[in-house]
C-alpha cells in the first residue's frame, strides 16, 4: 500500500500489527526450491485439471490426492452417519476449554436440514445462558459447532439457564460496559452464521422472543430473504422462537465467506406482518444494534 494513501496514524496502527506477523514473505522466497515445494508441484501437475476428471479419478477434492493418508481416509469412512434417526449431537461434545459453559439440561433439537451435509440446530441451557449452535460433521469427519452461549436479551420470562447471568457485562459503547440485565429487552437477536455444511450457502440462525412470527434478513447486496421461524420445543422450557435460513453466498455477498457480513439487518415481525424491531450488527457505528438507536460513539483520547 502506498504510504501516501494512509494517514500517519493508520501507518502507526499497521506498524503495530506488522510486528505481530510471525514470518515475512521475504524470508520465504527460497522455499519454492525446498523438497516439499518441489514435491507438491510435481503432485499437482499430475492431478486432474477439473472436477469431472477428479470425480473420475475417485477424488472429488483434489487435496486428498496430494496429502491425505490412507489411514485417515479409512478412519473417516468408518465414522457412523451423522444424525441418523435425528439423534441430537451434543453441543458440548469435545469442548475441552476450561471456560466453556456447563450444560444444565439436555440438548434440544430445534431444526435440522441438509445443505451439503446434514446439520442440526441445537439449543441447550447452560450456566452461562442459552447455547445455540449449528452442529454438523465436516468433510474430515469432525463434529463441528458454529454458535455460542451467553446472556439472552430477549423479551419474556426466561429462566436463568436460558437468560444467563444478568450481571454479565455487556458492551454499550466501544469503551463502556453495563450489566446486561440493565439493558432494554429485545424482540430479536442478531444472528449467528455458519457456512460449514455447504461451501456455497451460509446458514444464518438466531433466536427471537415469543410473538415474533416472521423474520426477514436484509442482505448486504440489498436483497431481503424470509427466514423459517419455529417455536422452541416444549422440552426447552422457554418462551422463545428460533429462526434460520440458508443464504446463497453468490446472492448474499459474492462468495466471500467470512469477511463481508452477508446480513445487514434482521427484521422481526408479528403475525400480522407488522415490524416489531429492526436490528443491525453491533459495532458498525452503533453498538446497541438498533438502527434508530444511539448515535455513534464520541471521539476518544
Amino acid at each position: 500500500m502506498s504510504p501516501r494513501s494512509m494517514s500517519k496514524r493508520s501507518q502507526q496502527l499497521n506498524a503495530l500489527l506488522a510486528e505481530l506477523a510471525p514470518v515475512r514473505d521475504e524470508d520465504l522466497v527460497g522455499e519454492v526450491r525446498s523438497a516439499r515445494a518441489v514435491g507438491l508441484l510435481g503432485a499437482i501437475l499430475e492431478a486432474p485439471t477439473n472436477d469431472r476428471e477428479a470425480e473420475r479419478s475417485g477424488s472429488r477434492r483434489g487435496r486428498m490426492l496430494v496429502f491425505a493418508a490412507a489411514a485417515v481416509a479409512a478412519a473417516v469412512l468408518s465414522l457412523p452417519a451423522f444424525g441418523v434417526g435425528e439423534e441430537v449431537v451434543s453441543f458440548f461434545a469435545g469442548w475441552r476449554d476450561p471456560e466453556a459453559p456447563v450444560p444444565t439440561a439436555s440438548d434440544v433439537l430445534i431444526a435440522s436440514g441438509e445443505d451439503g451435509v446434514r446439520w442440526q440446530l441445537v439449543a441447550t441451557k447452560s450456566d452461562q445462558g442459552l447455547c445455540l449452535g449449528l452442529v454438523y460433521r465436516s468433510s474430515a469427519g469432525e463434529e463441528v459447532v458454529d454458535g455460542g452461549c451467553g446472556y439472552v436479551d430477549l423479551r419474556g420470562d426466561l429462566t436463568s439457564g436460558i437468560r444467563g447471568d444478568p450481571s454479565t457485562r455487556c458492551l454499550v459503547s466501544p469503551t463502556e460496559t453495563a450489566p446486561c440485565g440493565s439493558l432494554p429487552r429485545r424482540w430479536i437477536d442478531f444472528p449467528s452464521r455458519s457456512n460449514g455444511p455447504d461451501s456455497d450457502r451460509m446458514i444464518v440462525f438466531g433466536s427471537a422472543a415469543a410473538g415474533v412470527a416472521g423474520v426477514d434478513l436484509v442482505l448486504s447486496n440489498g436483497e431481503s430473504v424470509r427466514a423459517h421461524v419455529v417455536e422452541a420445543p416444549e422440552r426447552l422450557g422457554a418462551p422463545l422462537n428460533f429462526y434460520w435460513v440458508a443464504v446463497s453466498l453468490e446472492e448474499g455477498y459474492r462468495g466471500s465467506f467470512e469477511l463481508v457480513d452477508p446480513v445487514e439487518m434482521v427484521v422481526a415481525r408479528d403475525a400480522d406482518g407488522r415490524v416489531l424491531e429492526r436490528r443491525i450488527a453491533a459495532w458498525n457505528g452503533n453498538p446497541t444494534g438498533d438502527p434508530d438507536g444511539s448515535p455513534p460513539p464520541q471521539p476518544l483520547g
Partner: protein, 189 residues
Amino acid sequence: MSSLPDLADAAARRERFQALYEENYHRVLGYAQRRVARDDASDVVAETFLVAWRRLDQVPEGDAARLWLYGAARRVLWNQQRAVRRRDRLSRRLRAEGVTRPDEDPSGSSLTPVAVAFGSLRRGDRELLSLVAWEGLDPGEIAEVLGCSRNAARIRLHRARRRFACELTRVGASLKRSSIAGHVSEVYE
C-alpha cells in the same frame, strides 16, 4: 488419443502454472504461516495451488494472480479452520487465534497487549487488518481478494481499524498511549 494441439495446450498450461507457482509460492506460504500452524499452513498452500491448477483459466495474469491466490487461500483456510472453531460470541474471551501460531504459544500467556487486542477482534476484522499490515494490500486489492467493491472494502477497513483502536484502548494500559489515543481520535473524526 490426444492430438498435437491438445498436447501443446497441456504443455502451455503446465508452463503457466509452474510460473505462477514459482512466483507466488512464498507469498501463499507466508499468508498461511501468518495465520495457522506450520503443518496446517502446508495443507493450505497445497490446496490453494491445487485449486489454482484446476481453475487456471480463471486465474488472472500478472499481479492480479497474487490477489486471486490470496482469495483462494482465504477460503481454504476458512474451510480448514471452521472444523476446530467454537465461538463464544458474547463472552468476548480474549483469544489469540490468528495472532500467534498455536504450536508456539498454546496458552497465549505471553501475548502482548497489541496481540490481545488484535486477537479479541472478530475474525473478519483481523483478516482485513492483516491483509493491509501483513500482505501490504490497499483497499482496491482487498476488494479483489474479498470479491466486494472497493468502497465496501474501504468502509469495512475503516470500521475494523476503529474497533481495533477501541480494543487497544481497552487493553492498552502499557501501550504507547499517545499514538493509540491519537489513532482513536482520528478514526472517529
